[in-house]
């Protein structure tokens, strides 16, 4: 950063970099603003030409329909349960596995880490058939565990990877002191390491929650019945007989997007560090 010579004289705001930044911000957010605006438009205005950026007669009727007739509230609750339970399970399992892989002498650790990296990007379609048959056999289709189990397993590799990278950066002296004090490995992990692991847990948690909140393929095939649908399935299958009801879809989409957007914005540092963890850190 230090290599850029500071601008001398009058600081000019109109330059290539600032214009580029403005363009990036507009490209990223304009479609989202458009969606928010369209969710407030009535049925005539939403299909009007030319399209107007802002609703002329804002109405909440789309939101009423989404809740009252399309059951977005119900899908939302399903998503909260599935993503929430999955995330808690992922974090507790990933903490111990990451601690073991970072701190304890394991033979074959290199192979395990490579396998985890590859599994963390494995396309779910390759697992769809056997998982579907296994869940059908076990009677898990259209149930919460039917989604939570595969979600935990599929998001664990990345979470373990993050936790391992984070924990291997914590100085070893603290741990050694605890061992000298006579603490067993479990107590050392829970009382010494866990409090220090918070940033790593935030990163792994935000990624797990976002991924499970958004997942579509497994949710569609395993939990297709109306009472167990998550938001992504619900919104994909929002249709009516004659016309795609975009206003209602966008109202539902806003309901599904606002919590995840807030989460990502609040924990933006964690998100950025998670994105770069495979590449830069550790």
């Amino acid at each position: 950063m230090s290599r850029h010579v500071p601008r001398t004289g009058v600081r000019r705001y109109v330059n290539v970099v600032n214009l580029g930044g403005l363009l990036i911000a507009v490209c990223a957010t304009l479609p989202l603003v458009w969606m928010a605006s369209a969710s407030l438009k009535g049925p005539r205005e939403i299909s009007a030409t030319p399209p107007s950026p802002l609703p002329r007669h804002p109405t909440l009727s789309n939101y009423e329909t989404a809740f009252a007739r399309n059951g977005i509230g119900h899908y939302f609750l399903n998503s909260v349960v599935v993503a929430g339970v999955s995330t808690v399970l992922i974090l507790s399992l990933a903490f111990f596995a990451g601690y073991a892989l970072a701190r304890l002498p394991l033979r074959g650790r290199g192979a395990v880490m490579t396998a985890l990296l590859m599994l963390s990007v494995f396309p779910p379609i390759a697992l769809l058939v056997p998982l579907f048959l296994m869940e059908r056999q076990a009677g898990l289709l259209n149930s919460y565990p039917g989604l939570v189990i595969p979600y935990v397993a599929l998001n664990l590799p990345f979470a373990v990877w993050i936790m391992r990278n984070y924990l291997s950066g914590i100085p070893g002296e603290l741990e050694e002191a605890a061992v000298v004090d006579g603490a067993g490995p479990l107590r050392t992990a829970l009382t010494v390491i866990l409090p220090l692991a918070r940033p790593g847990l935030f990163t792994a948690g935000v990624f797990s929650f976002t991924a499970t909140w958004s997942e579509f393929l497994l949710a569609l095939t395993f939990n297709g019945s109306d009472d167990r649908r998550t938001v992504s399935v619900g919104i994909a299958l929002f249709t009516s007989q004659y016309q795609v009801p975009y206003g209602v879809i966008f109202a539902g989409a806003m309901v599904a997007t606002v919590p995840i957007a807030l989460l990502v914005l609040i924990f933006r540092r964690s998100v950025v560090s998670g994105m770069t963890t495979g590449a830069v850190k550790g």
Partner: protein
């Protein structure tokens, strides 16, 4: 970049491989070397801590892939009580390999992957270069960039299907204003493919940009000073200094993106339903259709196995090539 290097070297106790950056790992090598019951007990605790996670992962990934393999080589009959496996057969693979639909799906998926990841890499690098030079606004723009990335795929697809809609979609309307004709974006094969690439680029360029930005921040300033002293201009500096330094850091991000793009399902499912015709039918969409429209579990398993083989092959190849680069870089 040392993280991937680390995965290869961490298992071997030889010293001096990880380099100075790996303070945490190198610190524990003295712990792992002393023999005796204490070390063995620590190792046992380690496996005890790691095994719940590893067992669940194996149960939901490794075991099903093996199950797929069996299914794909057997006659499968769907009966009331469940599946019945018949005699071994190659018919599923034969059907797949003689069926032009599979080749078309594979070609579309590969083309989509290559084109979209390439565009994302170029735009992501440009975005990162702009962000690096921005002052106070950088934090704000970074935060805004996370929004499309975090948007549910299905919602992004619904949103863009509205914007592309012939008649009242904003993109279609804009095209009409500019070129005088309403394009049928999602109704013709090539524009539909381009539209899908555009949505993917909109949604995932932020990820690439953030990784590249992190890479840019890691390049030490004296490298640039040296280039400046040598009289290199900005263009030469970018190609000769910045890009080579970025390469290892970007490599992993590209691997992630390639595999993610290869498994694409949500976007075509909602945006085009694989159409028009089968123009935008990805491998995942084809597998889904074979499975749930034709109820052909053996055929679906064959798609699953071929996909897994392609993906694993790409991963191994990539890690090999990539490790070679790291070694070169380390020696230079």
């Amino acid at each position: 970049m040392s993280s991937v290097l680390q995965t290869k070297t961490a298992g071997t106790p030889s010293k001096g491989e990880g380099g100075g950056a790996r303070a945490g790992a190198s610190r524990q090598s003295p712990m792992s070397t002393p023999p005796g019951s204490a070390a063995r007990r620590r190792a046992r605790t380690g496996w005890l801590f790691a095994s719940p996670a590893l067992l669940i992962i194996a149960a939901v990934t490794v075991f099903p892939v093996a199950f797929s393999l069996v299914l794909s080589f057997c006659e499968v009959r769907l009966e009331y009580g469940g599946l019945r496996l018949g005699s071994p057969t190659l018919a599923h693979y034969e059907a797949l390999l003689t069926h032009s639909e599979w080749y078309r799906a594979l070609a579309f998926t590969l083309g989509f992957t290559i084109v979209s990841v390439f565009i994302e890499l170029v735009l992501g690098t440009l975005t990162a270069l702009v962000l690096e030079r921005l002052g106070a606004a950088r934090g704000w723009i970074l935060a805004l960039l996370l929004l499309p990335w975090a948007l549910i795929n299905v919602i992004a697809a619904q949103l863009w299907s509205y914007l592309f809609n012939g008649g009242y979609g904003a993109v279609s309307w804009l095209c009409e204003e500019l070129f005088g004709a309403q394009p049928d974006i999602l109704g013709r094969p090539v524009p539909a493919m381009a539209a899908m690439v555009a949505v993917d680029v909109w949604k995932t360029t932020p990820f690439v940009a953030i990784v590249v930005l992190a890479g840019l921040m890691l390049i030490p300033g004296d490298v640039y000073e040296a280039a400046e002293i040598d009289g290199a201009n900005a263009w030469t500096t970018f190609w000769r200094v910045t890009l080579p330094q970025l390469r290892p850091i970007v490599a992993i991000a590209v691997l992630f993106r390639i595999l993610q793009a290869f498994g694409i399902f949500d976007l075509p499912f909602v945006l085009t339903q694989g159409g028009p015709g089968t123009a935008t039918q990805s491998v995942a969409i084809l597998g889904y259709r074979i499975l749930f429209q034709n109820l052909d579990f053996g055929g679906g398993a064959a798609v699953a196995v071929t996909t897994a083989v392609i993906v694993l092959g790409c991963c191994l190849l990539f890690l090999r090539v990539f490790r070679a680069h790291v070694d070169e870089g380390g020696r230079a």
